[in-house]
Amino acid sequence: MSNLQTDQLLQMETTCGSLLYELQIIWNEVGESDAERDKMLLELEQECLEVYRRKVDQANRCRAQLRQAIADSEAELATICSAMGERPVHIRQCDQSAVSLKEELKAIIPQLEEMQKRKCDRKNQFLEVLEHIQKISNEIGRSTDNPSKVVVDETDLSLRKLEELHQQLHALQKEKSDRLKQVLDHLNTLNSLCLVLGMDFKQTINEVHPSLDDSEGTKNISNDTIERLASAIQRLRKVKIERMQKLQDLATTMLELWNLMDTPIEEQQIFQNVTCNIAASEHEITEQNTLSVEFINYVEEEVSRLEDLKASKMKELVLKKRSELEEICRRTHLVAEADGAMEYAIEAIESGAVDPASILEQIELQIARVKEEAFSRKEILEKVEKWLTACEEESWLEEYNRDDNRYNAGRGAHLTLKRAEKARAIVNKLPAMVDALVSKVTAWERERGIEFAYDGVRLLSMLEEYNILRQEKEQERKRQRDQKKLQGQLIAEQEALFGSKPSPMKLQSGKKGPRMSTGGASSRRLSLGGAMLQTPKPDLSHSTKATPRLRPNKKSDLLSHNQDDSFAALSAGRRGLDVAGLPVKKHSFNASEIESPMKRKPFSPVSSAMLSKVNNTTNFLEDLNKVHGGTLQKTLPSNNTPLTTPSKLSTVTDDDENRTPKGMPIHMPSTPSTISVHMQTATTPAPATRPTTTATVLFGAKTIEEEYEEEVEYSFEERRAGFVLPKTLIKTIVQA
C-alpha cells in the first residue's frame, strides 16, 4: 500500500519535475529573468501549500463529524437502554484499541437500530395497556384527565413499569366485573320488585339509564348509574313496604269482615292469596303482581263491598232488633219510643255519623230493659187481660140482654145461652177483679215510683173510669127499673080502664135494625138484613162495649139509644144540604153504598124487577136532590121501603153532580184543564150505572163474560194468561 502511495507520489514528483523542466525550457526560450522565475516558483509553491492546507482541514472536519456521530449514537443507545431499564449492551472499547472511527461507527449503528426497534415495541405494549386502562377508567367513570389521548411516558418504559400497568389494568378489570355484577344484582332486585309491584321493568331501568335496557350492548356501570339504581331500588322497596302494609291492613279488615259475616269459603278462596300474606315480611312477598296498584284496588273494592254489606246487614240487624223491641212493647202494651227515633237512627247510620254497633247495643239495652219491665208487669198484665175479656163478655151480655128474641130457639141458641150463663158468672166477679187489680197496680206503682201505663194510658185511670161508668150504668138501670115499675102501674091503671095490655115488645122494636147489622156478624143475617157495610167491624162501635176507652162512643150511643142510625146519618145529610147552597157542594158519605136488595154475585145479571125498583129509588133520590132544601127530612120517612133502610138512603147523594140546581161543577172536559172538578161520588155502582137502557161496561169480551158469569170471575190478566182455576176449586166456589 505504501508502495502504491509512494509510487503515486513518485509519479506526481515526476510529473511536477517534468512540468518544472518544461517550464525552464519555456522560460529559457522566453528568456525570463531570474527574478521573475523565482517569483513564479514561489507563487507555485504557495498555491500548492494552500491546496494541502485545505485538504487537511477537510479531513480533519470529517474526522470530527465521525466522532460526533459515534458519540451521538452511543448517547442515544445509552438513553434507550436506561429507558428500557437495561444495562447498556455496548461497553465502549478503548479508543486505543486502534479501531478506526469508521469501524467503530459501523459497529454501533446496528446496535442502535436494534435498540430502537425494541423500544418501539415496548412503547406499543405500553400504549395498549394504557389504552385498556383508559377505557375501563372511562367506563367506571373515573377518568379525570383528557380521555381521548393516551400519553406514554417515554422515559420509563421498563418492564417493571409495564408490570405495574398490567396490575393496574387487572385491578380495573376486576373492578369493572364487580360493578357489572353489582349492576346485574341491582337489576335482578329491581326486576323482582317491579314484578311484585306490577310495574314496567324496562321503563323503570330506562329511566335509570338507557343502556341498562340493552341486553346486547354494554351496560353503563358508572358510579352514578349504580347510585341511581340503588336509589330506585330503595324507592321501590319503600313503595313495596307501603303497599304491603296497606294490603295487610286490607287483609286484616277482610278477615274480620269474613269472620263477622260468616262469608262462605268459596268467596274467601278468591282472596286466599291476599290473606296468606297477612303476616309476611317484605322479602317474603315475591309473587307476581301481589302488590300491583290494580290488585290493591281490587282488594280494596272487595273490602269496601264487604263493608257496605256489613253496613247494610247492621242496618237490617238494627231494624230487626227495633221491630223486636216494638213487638215486645206491643205485646206488653208498653208505649215504644217515638217512631221518629228509628228513622233518625237509620239516617244516622247511613250518614255514618253513628256507629251501628252502638245503636245496636243501645237497642239491645232497651230490649233488655223492656223485657225486664215486661217481666215485672207480667202478672198485672195477665190480670188486665182477664179483666178486658170479662169486660167484653159483659158488653156482649148487655147486648144479648137487649135482644128480645134471645130465647127464640134457633140454631146455636143453646150455645149462646151457655155463653150468657158463663158471662153472668164472670160479670159478677168483675168488681172484685177490678178491686184486686187496682190494689195490685197501686202496689206496683208505689214500689216502682212510676205510673203503670197500658198502651200509653194509665191503667189506674182506666180502672177508675170503668168504675165510674159502671156506677152510671147502675144508676141508669135503676132509673129504668123505676120507670118500668111506673109504667107497669100505668098499664095496670089503663088495663083497669080499657082492659087490654100492650105488648112490651113494641116499645123495643126500634132497636131491632141496628142489632141486626151489628150484633151477630152471621153472614146470613147480613145478606138478608141488607146492611150497608159488609164489614161488620165498624159497626161494632154501636154496641155498648164496656171497655172504658170506648166510653165516649158509648155515651153518645146511650143518648141516641132509641133512635136508629138514620138520625145520625140524617143530620149528616142535612149538613150536606146546608153546604149545598154554596158553589162547592159537599156531601157526607157516611155509609157509602146502597146494598142491592139481594146479595148478588158481581157478574150476575140484574133482574129487571130489581132494576126498576132501584131505578125508582135513584130517580127518587134525584128528585130529592132537585127539590133541595129541607124537604129531605120530610120525604125520608116515606121512603121506608122494606128493601132499603132509611139510614142508607140518607147518606146517598145523587149519582151525577151535574144535576144539582146550581150546575156549577164542570162536567169532565175532554181537554186538559186545571179547573178542579167534583168527583162523581155516587155510591150505588151497579144500579145507577146500569140503567136498563144502554150502558155497557167494559168488562171484557162479552162472550167470555157470559161464559163465566155463572161460574168464576177472571181478571184480564188471568184471561190473557189463559189461567183457569182447577175444576174442584170452581166447584167449591160455585157451591159457595
Partner: protein, 339 residues
C-alpha cells in the same frame, strides 16, 4: 202515533216493551224506572236520560216488578216464579215459587221482606237474603180467600185485594191472620189497590169505572170519612161506557193521586177535597200502570192495551214520562171555606 203527541203526553221512552206493559215503578233513590211486560222481560230505564239500562228475560210474561234497592229488583212471573235481579251484573236468582202465576210483588223496607201475591190464593213473604237456596228464602205463606189481584204496602200495613172482592189488611209484624177482613165497597171486580202515603187508608179501583177511598180506622168517625166516586166513563149519544180503572198512583209529596183507565185518560184527584185537579190529554190506548218518581216531579204512564176486550188489534205499547207541573197535583185551597 208517537209523532202526534210528543209534548202533550210527555216524553216517550225509546225501546219500549214489545208487548203489554204489566207494571212500571220509579226507584226510591233515582229516576230509574223498572218496567215489567208480557213480552217476558223486565226492563230498566233511566227515565231522565231516556236510556234503556238493562233487559232481563223471563220464562214467561212478567206481571209485576219492584225495586229492592237501586241496583237490584224483583219480578213476578206467569211461570210461577219470583225472581231477584242484580242490574249491574245481570245476575238472577229464583227467590221461590208459587203454585200458580204470581201477579204482584212488593218489597217492604220496614220488614226487609218481599211480599208476593199469586192466583194460587196465597200470599208469600220472602227474605231476599236467603241466597239462591230455593225454599230457604220463604218466610211464610198465608192463604187468601181468593186469587190475589193487587197488593199495596204502607209502613207495616199490607192491603191485599183478591178476586171475589175480598180485601184483607195485614200487619207485617203479625202475619198469622189479617188485622181486618173486609169486603170491597165496590160492587165489581177489584183492579188495583194503593195505600195512602200517610198510612191512614187505601184507594181501591174496580173494573167498573169507580174508585173507593177507604180508611183503616175502624171507629165510626174514621169510617164516616170513606166514600167512592165514579170516573173514567164516557157518555155518548145516550150510551154510557164505563171503563175499568187499571192504575192508581199517589203523589209522594201532596198525597193527591192519579188514576188511569182503559179510556186512555189519566186523571189527577184531590181525595181530601173530593175534587179532580187535572186531566191529561188522552193516550193512544188503555193506561196500564202509573208511577210518580220519588220527588213527584215525573209521572211515568204506561199506555198499553190491557186485554180488556180480549185479543184484538191495538195501538203499540208505549211508556211516557211526563214532567209534572205543581199546579196539576197540588191540592187547591177550597174555593169557599165552609161556614
Amino acid at each position: 202515533m208517537t209523532g202526534v203527541l210528543p209534548n202533550s203526553a210527555g216524553r216517550e221512552l225509546s225501546n219500549p216493551p214489545s208487548d203489554g206493559i204489566s207494571n212500571l215503578r220509579f226507584s226510591n233513590h233515582s229516576d230509574n224506572l223498572l218496567v215489567s211486560s208480557w213480552d217476558r222481560t223486565v226492563r230498566l230505564y233511566d227515565a231522565s236520560a231516556n236510556v234503556l239500562r238493562g233487559e232481563f228475560f223471563h220464562g214467561g210474561p212478567v206481571l209485576d216488578c219492584c225495586f229492592h234497592d237501586d241496583s237490584s229488583g224483583f219480578s213476578a212471573c206467569v211461570d210461577n216464579t219470583v225472581r231477584r235481579y242484580v242490574f249491574s251484573s245481570g245476575k238472577e236468582d229464583i227467590l221461590g215459587r208459587h203454585d200458580a202465576p204470581v201477579c204482584c210483588v212488593e218489597y217492604s223496607y220496614a220488614a226487609g221482606q218481599v211480599i208476593t201475591g199469586s192466583w194460587d190464593k196465597t200470599l208469600k213473604c220472602w227474605d231476599p237474603r236467603g241466597a239462591s237456596g230455593q225454599e230457604r228464602a220463604l218466610v211464610g205463606a198465608y192463604p187468601q180467600p181468593e186469587r190475589v189481584y193487587s197488593i199495596s204496602l204502607v209502613g207495616h200495613r199490607l192491603v191485599v185485594a183478591t178476586a171475589g172482592r175480598h180485601v184483607n189488611v195485614y200487619d207485617l209484624r203479625n202475619m198469622s191472620q189479617p188485622e181486618q177482613k173486609r169486603e170491597s165497597s165496590l160492587k165489581h171486580q177489584t183492579r188495583c189497590v194503593r195505600c195512602y202515603p200517610n198510612g191512614t187508608g187505601f184507594a181501591l179501583s174496580s173494573v167498573e169505572g169507580r174508585v173507593a177511598m177507604e180508611f183503616f180506622d175502624l171507629s165510626e168517625a174514621g169510617q164516616a170519612k170513606k166514600y167512592a166516586f165514579k170516573c173514567h166513563r164516557k157518555s155518548e149519544a145516550g150510551r154510557d161506557t164505563v171503563y175499568p180503572v187499571n192504575a192508581i198512583a199517589f203523589h209522594p209529596v201532596y198525597g193527591t193521586f192519579a188514576t188511569g183507565g182503559c179510556d186512555g185518560y189519566v186523571n189527577v184527584w184531590d181525595g181530601n177535597n173530593k175534587k179532580r185537579l187535572y186531566q191529561y190529554t188522552k193516550y193512544p190506548t188503555s193506561i196500564a200502570a202509573l208511577s210518580f218518581s220519588r220527588d213527584g216531579r215525573l209521572l211515568a204512564v204506561a199506555s198499553s192495551y190491557t186485554f180488556e176486550e180480549g185479543d184484538r188489534p191495538h195501538e203499540p205499547d208505549a211508556i211516557f214520562v211526563r214532567s209534572i207541573n205543581e199546579v196539576e197535583v197540588k191540592p187547591k185551597p177550597r174555593v169557599c171555606p165552609a161556614p
